[in-house]
Symmetry: D4
Subunit: 255 residues, 8 copies
């Protein structure tokens, strides 16, 4: 992966600048650091522009401390998702600066100001969907995007949605967060001309099956231009929206 690096390495070997074994060693050992319980992909930032993101569920506090501690030597604005207050306090305890976004359950370690560019609309169907929407919004903001939050515009009162059409038309990409029947993704997808990323949520009960109803609804959207991420995966939607929004921003001519 990263073929330029490989060619350059091969050239150095040819020129005798480094030994083959050394090259092999470097090839294998540079891109990550092994903590025993985790191999931090330190190469990812160079590869994708974003340092590794820590998914906190299922990791012990000492493991999270260890990973973030090591990462903070090289990176700022380190995202930790599904982070509890306990995680936040544990990171503060080891002397690292960090911010906690409670609704979004996101912690940002080593936070630094970042310019927020472009325009991502994060739309939620109901009030109960806001935590997932916030996960998307905070992710996108931390990655340097401008986010426009448009909450509680579900299809049961469709005039609320029509009211915000102008906001939707201005976005480079829309993230639509909805539980229950998830119909909002299709309706937004039919209105706008930008890509729509649907995030089904587990809001609902009975035959919502923890978000499956909304997931299937979005996967079967009759509107073109809608793709979907996992149930409650606000982070994933915010991340992909950032990739798309950055294309728009980066390709735009300097003003």
């Amino acid at each position: 992966m990263d073929s330029k690096y490989l060619v350059s390495l091969l050239k150095q070997v040819k020129n005798g600048q480094i030994e083959p074994d050394e090259a092999m060693h470097e090839l294998r050992h540079l891109p990550f650091e092994d903590l025993g319980y985790a191999r931090i992909d330190t190469h990812r930032c160079a590869r994708t522009g974003v340092p590794e993101v820590i998914y906190c569920e299922g990791k012990s506090i000492p493991q999270i401390q260890g990973i973030i501690n090591r990462m903070s030597e090289h990176h700022s604005n380190i995202l930790a998702t599904r982070a509890t207050w306990e995680v936040f306090e544990a990171i503060e305890k080891i002397g690292l600066e960090c911010q906690y976004h409670e609704q979004a359950r996101i912690m940002v370690a080593n936070p630094r100001p970042v310019e927020q560019v472009g325009n991502i609309a994060v739309v939620s169907a109901g009030t109960s969907d806001i935590p997932v929407a916030e996960e998307a919004a905070v992710t996108a903001e931390t990655l340097g995007n401008h986010v426009n939050r448009i909450y509680d515009v579900g299809v049961a009162g469709i005039h609320r949605l029509l009211n915000v059409c102008d906001d939707l038309f201005e976005a480079n990409v829309s993230v639509v967060v909805a539980g229950m029947e998830g119909a909002l993704a299709s309706v937004v997808g039919g209105l706008v001309s930008c890509p729509v990323i649907g995030v089904p949520t587990s809001v609902g009960y009975g035959a919502s099956f923890g978000g499956v109803a909304a997931l299937l609804s979005m996967l079967n959207s009759c509107a073109s231009g809608v793709s979907v991420v996992n149930i409650d995966n606000g982070f994933g939607a915010g991340y992909q929206a950032s990739l798309i929004n950055k294309i728009a921003v980066n390709k735009a001519p300097p003003e």
Copy 2:
């Protein structure tokens, strides 16, 4: 069932007008006729105002012929659903008058003109949903209801739906037929003040799972006032819509 009949029977027994054993006999043998392979519920018409409806799938041609032949002695406008051309021809062959609604796969035996009253809106999301919508519409019409067909107004172009709002507002009850993500039921449910009966269809592919996506979507509708019938069950929706529409018509004062 039918307690008045039971009380009347008991009174006749008391007055010596009929013998107990005879009463028992009548009680047990009047309400249906046993053809061996079928027990025709001839009492249903008195009980519910509608003769028994024949579901053709899984029945042999001779069985269907036998059932309809016997029913036609007492009833007109006998509905046979999921009827193929073969069924239609088999009924014609035994000399019974009948009409075949091909898209709806409904055959009406012993057809008689019936006044069509009230107002039922049958709404379909797409062109591919029309066969199921027609099953609902023809059922309702045969049962004596006026039906307003509003087809291909899915949410991918929501202005098509807004355009027909007036039609929706005039209906006593709406049947909403939709496959894929089935979002139309929620959107209509949010617009109108009459009861909405959702009919998920098996239109779609992949993760539509033969209509499950639309079914779950409708069951989890964020709009109040939406109930649901089985996938592709246009008949059931048309039947219940008829019950509701007739309430409106029957309770209305004579003009």
Copy 3:
């Protein structure tokens, strides 16, 4: 939505009574109020005759307080479903009058006496299904309907059901609440001539899969005239039953 309003607005514009921009502004801003975390559909009451209903699960106490507080400025008998004691106390705390129906988990804010008209039968299969049945019954009563509760008449002792046939025959619409195998909806559907709304409940264990068995059973009812709402959705059934019962009442000639 609401085409008469739109035409009237257009006429005012034509007559110079209001400016286009003003019309546009009104069109967009009248029908709801934006609290940031919620957009209250204040237009719904005019549209459907019922103010917005608050689904409490997934909303924070301050959010519920904010929404009900604002709504109570214009509305009475505000329904809040899936409300805990904690919610009830929080509303009392901000000085609003309210009633709490514990079994039904429904809170009614700003309660006012309302005439209860017509006749809705709410039928439960077992004692364990009563909380869901109560959600349906209290919803319907709050919306101004007369409710006849018929509880614990499941099919394991069918004479209990036959015993209450007369009550069933008198209803304009029946709500049938059943868990486990949910057979009661089909049996009632075969007996009565009014619409039946089935409510599967999560009562049961093992292969009831949290109400799925009852849900599928009701969706596949061999009786015509049965439609279904989500598992444990007593509110939805009570709401739709109210719509149907009101048709009967409103269309009836004045006595």
Copy 4:
């Protein structure tokens, strides 16, 4: 298995009547015959009173011919289930006498008259369920049981069922065959005091999921005394009903 045989064998060995190796050989080779593609459990008849039953699906015609040919050397009334006309003709072709029950898809090879004792009720909800009901009935009759067929008594017209209560009360065991919502098993289970074996059928469409709705319905029956076999498994129900009915007959004193 069959410990008496094992003890007897051990005794013969001890008495020197047979050699250990020979005993071992017999132990291993007596109870079945190996045709390469099938090991016929010829010991089953002694063990359970019924020769092995051939499930035809997935077996080639030559395999079925080979198995039945070998079995017919020792047994009569050999049951072959899920047998097509093609299977029937193939068996006739090799000169074996056999009967074909078309609706039941059962072939009986080497048929011999057998006394039909006791009383098994086989009840079907609808006409479309009759093929599965016949599989149960023919199985039970071939195994020597008296069968009372009670067809098309589904719960949509419950008086049809009440009408046949006396027949149900006289059975030692009832087999209830129903598709769609399968409610009949619960209703019969609530009426009778004999064991009820439910057979869900794949009759239905949409959310019946090929019989799953009826299966779950029967598994969750609110009536006690109901057990269930696989979807469309008329054979299994007829077989177990025979075991139960035979208990009643065999334990009864000679008249």
Copy 5:
């Protein structure tokens, strides 16, 4: 239901012994008692020989107290399943005698000695399945059956099962309780000639899906003579086993 009673009632009416309205009244009001939240099927004992069984889950303590209190006026050995210690103590508190079987989670109110006849084998695959097996065993014993408990004979060490073959051969009916892959039901079904009732349990993890793996396994048993009840439904299996065992006992000639 109970046609003899109906004929007798009709005869009394004819003879003028009772008035029709009175007959109707009796017909409708005798067989159960309405507590508001429960209709006790007091007629069940006459109909099926067993008083109604109380399923405690989802019922409040006062409801259970009320039901058992009323039933204890007429019945002894009242079974309450899924009963917690709290339920037991609540019944003791109102002065009713009762026994609590902790593993089986069964409470027997108004306990009276009952002769235990016949022979039911209750077989469990593992130690973890014992609570469900005990529910079956205690149910059957309370209903007057002799039970032979054979625990922890799962197929992972099949010699343990072969060792108890003689016990299995002596039973009139076998209840096989197994979680995980539930293979034991098939293996026992292949060994014995009596009816086998399979009880899948929720013992297991991952792809056991709370007992679904064992349920499907038992429903698809390659051995004939196996029927199945709901996951963890020890009560249902014990109840049906009792029905079958009683046939054997009751039909047997007096010794």
Copy 6:
């Protein structure tokens, strides 16, 4: 939808240029044409830049002919997906020019040359996935995008994928098409820094459940930046990829 149009219309009304009723009429009738069985969203092209796309499954030949015939009056490069040879021939028959892409099952009516800009990588895991990949590729090409096809680079021989890294790095967006376990989406997602759209296919058997395994795999991708469309929905992926690629192209400065 399209608020500028609404404001402009209101202004014309104010200036007396058009009558309110006329405005209302135009508002409702301009954006689509009603063929009875279909309402063509002619406004979509203005709204989203792409004319309506025809999904052929479930539509009759005359319906498809009617829709395309009407659309071809205003549009070129009309996409018809899931089109059979029969559909293609039917369109040719009515005298319309069209191209048929057999593997992709796409027909393009009224085809016109279109500049193909930017860079979309369409990657397939196996040879059997090519038809779905072609649906994505042809869709994107017809919409004016340059497509780079990279086929049969599944993870079973990961060097095949590493070999094409440079191609992947050059794309603005990648569509990854994979059946069976669908692991390719995650692996590509971990390598590249552009958005990845996963398309699960129904290639596989047994526990692939018609593409469900690949769908779940992609939804749970451990790589960030992956979103997913419905099983076999090559069109949807190609469409969204086009939206994203066009952002890159349109925002880029003129060279």
Copy 7:
């Protein structure tokens, strides 16, 4: 992958034996050949000892011809699974020698005699499972393993299995093929001390759900030492059994 090759390449570069770009070229282009629709992993044979296996489903005849034709230049005993007669004839047509195993649906192109070593037991529960068992057996034999076929030893007559214990004890690895409830895998797993690979088959009906019942049964096996492959994946089981058997053979000392 294949680090020795990489180190060697790097050394050649260092010694100036090849140019870096040339090395890069070789690295990328040696290990497979690109046919456009397929990239043949010609490196696999060196890597794993087995040439690539062609899964025929979903591939066109010309594609299969092209792939096999190219592979046959370097390899013999090329396995093509899920091959129809049509595939076989198409390969013969292009002049390649090949064998067709009809039951196993396997074609071996360029067949060469291969020594069959070690001992793999392939066990089937029923006659209907033989095609899948044959797929496993033929795969293993073609890969150079001795296979012992033990068919139709399902648990319904467990003595048939006990009879072949010695055969099972002699195998290095056992493949157990079973449909319906799949119990055989657990029973064999409890008897033997070698690894057991379970292959669930789609043999069955109703709640077997196309092999899901057997799959879940095997995944939840109470016996240790059982792992599972996909439903009907005889090839996968035969392949892994070969890997295990070869370990035994290769590590054994020369005799």
Copy 8:
């Protein structure tokens, strides 16, 4: 089972060394001990080389104490899986020596040093998968295998995996533990030539459905040579890996 034992027993009987009844007695009572709630398969160690393993979930503390106490009379290194701290303390309390592996949730009673031979690679995709990986590793080590732990090498950064290729190439068998999409099993399966045992874990959320996504992914692996155990079943994978690794070790010539 164990035919040599059976033949030997028969020979002793023949020689008059033991009586038939005695032989029968021994045959049935030797191989296990019955504790009432458990039948300890003491014969298993002779049969499979490993004493019975105790699965603690669902067993009471006294039951576990009883089982381990009795087993420790004959065996050392007794494995108890899914053991909590409470279980560990209870075993210590009765005076037995034991070790507790907390992450693996495994307790080893009566621990004795055991030589660790061969080479098993245990690979985990993420840090959160380590507990399941440890269950596999500790199981294998306790059974006498050398284990190489390779953790956190998931496909989102594939260079981490390529880096450890040499370690993978040296293993006799690989256990691959992964949650979420479980792609790692396929990628490893494509790289190595040894058998791969996939262990899906329940790590993930939403549409991972508690490990189902990873399970399906692994079952559908496009790489040959991968078999799968139950979700989170580290023990089962470690056990089977031990069986395979031991083959390699035992068959190897003495050095």
